[in-house]
Amino acid sequence: MGIIHKYKVVIAVVLPILILVLIRQFGGNHFQTDAKRWSEPSIMRSNIITEEKIGTLSGEKLIINLGEGNREIKDMGMELLNIPADSVLSKNILHTIGKHDGPLLLYSSETAVSARIWMVLSQMGYKNIFILTNEADNEISKNKFRPDTIVRPEL
């Protein structure tokens, strides 16, 4: 008690800062530092998985279907969670994601949606998250441009 009384001014200044730092560090609802580090799997393309390669992932898999209903996704014999994309950061969903001890597969019929949600979750520090897609070659150029050697550019 004597020490607390003796350092009450210091404690009054330092304690609120310490609490804020601890909330910032260990609270769930914030982004991690160093965005480049958390986006690394997207650069390496190691965050994309196709149905055929799901077997290469170890651990219990959970599919998060970001569409409405599960009509688009076939029954893969895995745990399936249907949630609208805008609810992915609700407390109970984040709790489920954080608690799940295995790969998490994001699925949406729109590639843009699953890519965006992946980046948000990854930047929040969630690991072992993959984008389940049928288009593993989505970022490969599918068209060959043939230059027109006769054309004369007009100004």
Partner: protein, 203 residues
């Protein structure tokens, strides 16, 4: 307890707190996750290839198109007027150097839908709100603009306008990408000068 002792204990405590904080000089997202999520799920963050085609043929100065593919892919073919910032280098340099002008819409594209959407979330997370995505990427550009054709008997005014836009964008795309690299930039500069002269701007 004297002031010096209090000051020392205070400093030591702050040092302890600093040690808890991650030391990283790299960029981190600054907006709140929920806010970012609602922003990036907004349909207004998308432009269709037809909208981008209109920007390109009108040489819209309020739009900057950013190609996220590799420099080799960019050199071989690109949307006229676009700049190249490979996705893997997006955070290596200060993104503010090309995203900072709040009056300009920055539209990301890649071959497909992954890199451009990662880049959008990254840019919006760093609080660059003037960022958008060309839906479908260059693959969709080829499908819609480069391979467009009309085979019906009647065409509505709206369809005709759309077809005209695609035809002009395709012509410009083909013209510029058929040029040797050394002439591409010169052609674009010459086009800007010609446009200024038409506007009566005697630079």
């Amino acid at each position: 307890m004297n002031t010096r002792e209090k000051f020392s204990v205070g400093l030591l405590s702050l040092g302890f707190i600093l040690a808890l904080l991650p030391l990283s000089a790299n960029r981190s997202f600054t907006v709140k996750p929920q806010k970012l999520l609602s922003e990036v799920l907004n349909e207004k963050t998308f432009f269709t290839v037809d909208q981008v085609a209109r920007f390109v043929i009108s040489d819209d100065s309020t739009v900057q198109i950013i190609d996220l593919r590799s420099p080799e892919e960019f050199r071989s073919v690109n949307i006229p007027g676009s700049i190249n910032v490979p996705y893997n280098e997006l955070l290596d340099n200060d993104p503010g150097s090309f995203l900072n002008d709040g009056n300009i819409k920055n539209i990301f594209y890649s071959n497909g839908d992954f890199d451009s959407n990662y880049a959008l979330v990254t840019a919006r997370g760093l609080n660059y709100k003037n960022t958008y995505v060309m839906k479908g990427g260059l693959n969709e550009w080829f499908n819609t603009v480069m391979n467009s054709s009309f085979s019906g008997e009647r065409i509505s005014a709206r369809e005709n306008a759309l077809f005209e836009t695609r035809t002009r964008a395709r012509k410009l795309f083909t013209e510029i990408n058929s040029l040797p690299d050394s002439l591409k930039l010169k052609f674009i500069e010459a086009k800007h000068i010609a446009a200024k002269k038409l506007d009566g701007d005697c630079e």
